[in-house]
Chain length 466, copies 2
Amino acid sequence: MSETVEETAGATVARDAGSHDDGLNRETVERVLAAVEADDHDALVEILDELHPADIADLLEQVSRSERKALITLWGVQLDGAVLSELEERVRDEIVAELPDHVLIQALQELETDDVVYLAEDMDEPQQERILRALDDVDRAAVERSLKYEDYSAGRLMQTEVVVAPEHWTVGNAIDFLRNEEWLPESFYDLIIVSPQMHPIGTVSLGRLMGSARKTRLRELMNEDFRTFRVDQSQEDVAYAFNKYHLISAPVVDADGRLAGVITIDDAMEALEEETEEDLRLLAGVGDEELSDGVFTIARARFVWLVVNLMTAIVAASVIGFFSETIQMHVALASLMPIVASMGGNAGTQTLTVAARALATRKLTASNMTRVIGREGIVGLLNGIGFAVVMGTLSALYFSDHVIGLVIGLAIIGNMVVAGFAGVLVPIGLEKLGVDPALASGTFVTTMTDVFGFFAFLGLATLVLM
Amino acid sequence: MSETVEETAGATVARDAGSHDDGLNRETVERVLAAVEADDHDALVEILDELHPADIADLLEQVSRSERKALITLWGVQLDGAVLSELEERVRDEIVAELPDHVLIQALQELETDDVVYLAEDMDEPQQERILRALDDVDRAAVERSLKYEDYSAGRLMQTEVVVAPEHWTVGNAIDFLRNEEWLPESFYDLIIVSPQMHPIGTVSLGRLMGSARKTRLRELMNEDFRTFRVDQSQEDVAYAFNKYHLISAPVVDADGRLAGVITIDDAMEALEEETEEDLRLLAGVGDEELSDGVFTIARARFVWLVVNLMTAIVAASVIGFFSETIQMHVALASLMPIVASMGGNAGTQTLTVAARALATRKLTASNMTRVIGREGIVGLLNGIGFAVVMGTLSALYFSDHVIGLVIGLAIIGNMVVAGFAGVLVPIGLEKLGVDPALASGTFVTTMTDVFGFFAFLGLATLVLM
């Protein structure tokens, strides 16, 4: 079970020696807004200088649109580019669209290419062109190359700043080279050893390099058992492999196997959170809305998902309509039928959540699929029998009618077995069709349990009671 | 939107130059089982040598219990300790409980202290004692110290192998020291600069160290603006900060501010996935079951959650029972009432998911709470009006009764507003009470929408139609 959260807004973190910024708290937000209100540029810069770019981004997301605009205007050319790459998409787009070109260009200058790509991909065509033109030639070429790769691919995720060395170098050569290099990437943990054709053939971690004698050849130190990704692999694959194999950085190669860039664990960690978050949202029927989105954007996005739900609810309702005579004769059925449907729906959602995650984390594979499906059926049966006894007894006693107890008991058993199978077969089926197994699974499963639940309960009741 | 998964079992990853192990696929599983069947030790070792410990762990989880036992027995003393720390808890406990002490001790010898702690925490008392006695003094002391910290705390997560240096050292001193050190931790990215009292006062990344002249003092290179964690902070806090501030490693200090260990990003990444996964499961009403758990374990765990659901379903049913006369007179109400409840339930789940995640990622704070709550009410109202028009019209036409259309329309509007407020207020309320906002939120919210939905719909119908 989880720990309770002590406070909000990151204020719990880093209160010790060495942690000079204390995260974002309400008081800081108020001090910033007061400086903006007073149009006091120096006070604003002084407060923002103390904050981590991620905290400034949080702040910008939490204030209102007009406050945000005033803050950005007052901050002016001192705007820190790193803040832009920390923002959620909607706020970032809003700010980027309004920034004067010279401010934006200066902000981008300090960023690594993966962050520039991340910002440039959402700009409109003319703005993107103006901005890219202002970058130096090497950076522009790198950004343009990355933009050619698909969204959410390894090519988009990688940074193109890599540190490479030939295998015949010694540790001394490498260290001297690094010392003379004016500019080293910020996240940099491995030296990539390349062949003359620029194929990665090994990696040497900085720790290893550091711990070895100057005259040792890199060839002797290098780890040949490393993992590479192709530029067109999905970021989901990348995140999965980083997490599973505890990778810190990994080379990315193009179609010819030549080194194109490197992905580091911090990018993979972000991708992992993005993918898990997406599953969680898809299971609940929400898209990629953000907390700062406006009322209409959110209402529209959720409306679409609710339409699907409405249609399935109408199907379930028409099953009920089919048995209206029975209900009229035995009105107790009307109160009991939602219980049958609800137990099935919840049992189905439980199974579904476990199955969708097991597919996403690749724990559910061809090797254990039959066993897992069978097990879900048996779990459904066992719990079905348990709740049939409980609910059958309660209903028989309450309505002084053992037949009604029998009917609801049988319907619950049947519906919970259906829930078990539907919960695991629906996501497996969706994956086989090439669809994300979390997508709309919930609606499919609860439609099945609603329809089956109402049908079994009211059908049995009609047979037995009428 | 997400990419589709091309294949299962990690086979999509790492098929290129340099990736010598190809992940786990069905064929490998079959070859391993054939070797076990044939009792062929050498063949087994040869196949397993080619696999990453994480893949061997996956394999052990996917085969049946008897196959697992046979495999472990045949593998014998060659068992790789890293495999144990990759296993899910149930399978790990099963294997560890059955391993002879000498095999287990040899397996643990190769691991770093954080992994040994991870394994030791689940052993029974006598086994733990026997195993700890076999470790060398330094390691035993470190493991025993870590075991004193609470589960899911920074103290448990950290490794105690740290590389420290005093600030007056030069780059040359540090490099010479590292070269002469026989044993360096496997994950090691920063040198921690400590005061004579062992308080961390700065960090120097290996990249920085590497890129600087030998005579430079560490004092001049060190980053004083780093983050530390206290041993008693929750792993949730740690994961949040690593993800937000893009940390690679961070010192952990004891109550006196003295360096106790270091947490690296790979551990934080695992903790992050654990915490997000937990939220996802709590929202769906499943505990920490594992795919390899047995039928009875799973059935029992899910039963508990379903009991809560049953009780809330009974409350909703009794609301319906209250209006049985109205239903008997107008049986159409029986088919329509689940639609009102279902639309409210789904809208509530959408809001809840967004709100619970926003709390977990600390995007929903005191600064924007009022705005978010108000927005959810308005979104509920807008979508409520939309669906009221659709469903009111459909019902009026289908039953040729505009009064029934009006009744369902009004009930839907009311219920979706309730859903919006309940979806955001329930998790906020739970958090204020110090409970994980994802826990059982779903049941609270859908109970509210069911009860309100049935009550509003049937109550209005009784007023207007009776």
